[in-house]
Symmetry: C2
């Protein structure tokens, strides 16, 4: 009974299923195992064995890398019906990086053995194309994450700086040019000016020559 | 003569060539054009038309995205014999982002029309797989670039901060805790401590409780 359910699920998740020979289908079916992961549990890491290809029956997985200070940079999330291929990165010749994968929710998955999946990909162009195709989808996710990193953290960095500066000087006015602030926060003057202008437009600061006056500390704190 | 040379080049660059029907080969060959780009010239941008698939005969192309302050974040470079597919991203269903592509050196390329390439990919699984496969290679390049952004810019940011701080106070000793410095530079205490320790190990600063003394300004400048 469970076997039939699993087979139906596999056929649907692996969209190249009907392009496989009977032998290839049997090979996959006899090398699938089930696994459950608790919310927060690590499934795949840089240094552990190649888990395999994961077919998500329920729950949610999250892929991330770690920044230098141990922050988790989320790359993408996968839900029911989706296939996680980077957990089998050991068998993907063109993938030269690795990611962490955690269960974001309690999750049920089917696992196809990495070596078996590789065998099928090497013989069957439809299987190989599938593994490349879903990796390309993850590439798009990662580019989105990267652009968020490049563009979206700056409001926070600037808010932290302004708060520290007024608490250090004990006044609400910071006597620094945008250029000087840019040097402190490791950015460019244009970026600082644009973000300060934004803070001014929403009523958090008031700008004048060589000065930034914080007029709404509470809302500035909301950015940090 | 030139046509024969181009054909030989196309056969080699498109590794799926012998999996194409005669008709598909002819279709591609009759929709190839040549182009030359000067060093620094933009080839493909977010907002211009879909250039097509580029086969690099000589020179070097560079793909990048722009950060908020207009800095170019290099994603990867391509050289002779390589194929640039993201310049035909309009026809790649799974690519939902765009990049800028410039000629990094004077470059000669062959351009396959995007629409024609798409037609062939839709009919021929080997062509489709090729386009996915080389995109996956670029994914690996981009992950490497992303990790450099996450990990490698911090030494510079910290060096800039230390230099500004000593020039502001007029002494070589900065009386700030690692926690305070972390707040200024928008990082975490652990990261600041690790990098300061590194600066100390290579003889640039000397650390003591609540203090950082710069002992080699020249080498600190080299980081910025």
């Amino acid at each position: 009974m469970t076997e039939n359910i699993n087979k139906a699920f596999i056929c649907e998740a692996l969209t190249f299923w009907d392009k496989l020979t009977d032998q290839e289908q049997s090979l996959i079916l006899s090398n699938v195992s089930s696994a459950s992961y608790k919310r927060g549990e690590n499934i795949h890491s840089y240094d552990n064995d190649c888990v395999g290809v994961l077919l998500i029956k329920s729950g949610e997985l999250r892929a991330y890398i770690l920044s230098e200070d141990g922050r988790e940079i989320t790359l993408y999330r996968l839900i029911k019906g989706e296939v996680c291929i980077l957990s089998a990165s050991c068998v993907l010749k063109n993938i030269t990086f690795d990611v962490h994968i955690d269960a974001e929710q309690d999750s049920e998955v089917l696992i196809i053995n990495s070596g078996i999946f590789e065998q099928v990909c090497n013989k069957n162009i439809y299987a190989e194309n599938f593994s490349h195709k879903i990796t390309v989808q993850r590439f798009s996710d990662v580019m989105k994450a990267m652009q968020q990193i490049l563009f979206s953290s700056f409001d926070k960095r600037l808010a932290v700086f302004l708060i520290d500066e007024i608490s250090k000087t004990g006044t609400d006015t910071i006597s620094l040019t945008h250029e000087q602030i840019a040097n402190y926060v490791g950015s460019a003057r244009e970026v600082v000016s644009r973000m300060l202008k934004y803070f001014e437009n929403i009523g958090i600061v008031k700008l004048s020559r060589g000065k930034v006056t914080v007029i709404d500390k509470k809302r500035l704190h909301d950015f940090t």
